[in-house]
Amino acid sequence: MTRNEFLSKLADELKKNNIGEIDDIISEYDQHFAFKLADGFSEEEIAAKLGNPVLIASQFESIGDENNSRGRKAAAIIGLGLLDIFAGAFFILLSAWEAIMAAFSLCGAVIAFSLFGSISPWSLIPNMPRLAEIVFGLSLSSLSVLTAVGCIYFAAFIRQLMRSYRRFHENTIAIASGRGILPTVTISPKISSRFNRRLRTIALISLILFTTCFVLGILVSMILSGTLEFWHTWGWFGYQAVN
């Protein structure tokens, strides 16, 4: 490669990599040629000793140009801003689901309480014999506990997901502005194994209790009412049995 070939190739590569002050860089390499030529080397020899212009240009790139990095930072922030909107909507959705589960759990508890106490707020609880009330009450209170456990797990999951996203957010900006990054945060929530074991036991017991009592409640109701469709007999859902 001749002096001119080398320099124009280098200039092209630098331009391609969006490096600033190219003239300044080229003049350094041009002077290098001038000194070496004066020492009696040929242009080809000098170019070979300098190295591949593509590689040299990439070394300038890895250093990161100031304007370039500022541009990258701006692009990263804009991109992250857009991503934040989606992630925000997603987190709102997840939180809404958490709220629904919590409300469900609370409703279960209130209904169970009403059944145990034989009270019917706004006549919403259909009437049934005492035994059926207790069995259904047990079933619903178990369901309430089960949902509450689900709520705890889900809340821990959302919290960890938000943390993980926040770390990703910070690291992306750090990379764009050439700063060091912090270790990433895993998505799986950190729950102490003892607490986790307890929660699982509670969930399992309440699940068994809920299903057993639910089936038992239906059986008891069928037996007490003497029909398979006990809800007709007891006049649930606002109408009486026809016959």
Binding site: Q31, H32, P53
Partner: protein
């Protein structure tokens, strides 16, 4: 040797040369390639990086019978950084040398 691996050490060598006296780019390139096996073109990106980081400053000086030369000189920050990184590197290198010794025994 891996170029990324060498780069940090090369920066230190450039700083140590410039601590002694101001040099123009070609001088630095010749000095390094005389002692360390690198492509001549590697030095200029390093000089630029050090200047961007504020460790070096440049000035041009007319030369008799030639184009003006761009001299590099160490800034105050460059001096401080050099002293700090020099002692860190020497400590590190001493440790590595110890670890790479044939008879090195971890159990003490």
């Amino acid at each position: 040797m891996n170029i990324q691996y060498k780069k940090g050490v090369l920066e230190l060598c450039v700083l140590s040369l410039l601590k002694r006296r101001d040099c123009y780019g070609y001088e630095i390139s010749e000095y390094l390639s005389k002692h360390i096996d690198i492509a001549d073109g590697t030095v200029y990106p390093i000089l630029r990086k050090l200047r961007k980081e504020g460790l070096l400053s440049t000035y041009t000086q007319e030369e008799s019978g030639g184009p003006p030369r761009k001299y590099y000189s160490l800034t105050n920050l460059g001096h401080e950084t050099y002293e700090k990184e020099r002692s860190e590197y020497l400590k590190f290198a001493k440790k590595v040398e110890l670890l790479l010794e044939d008879g090195f025994d971890d159990k003490e």
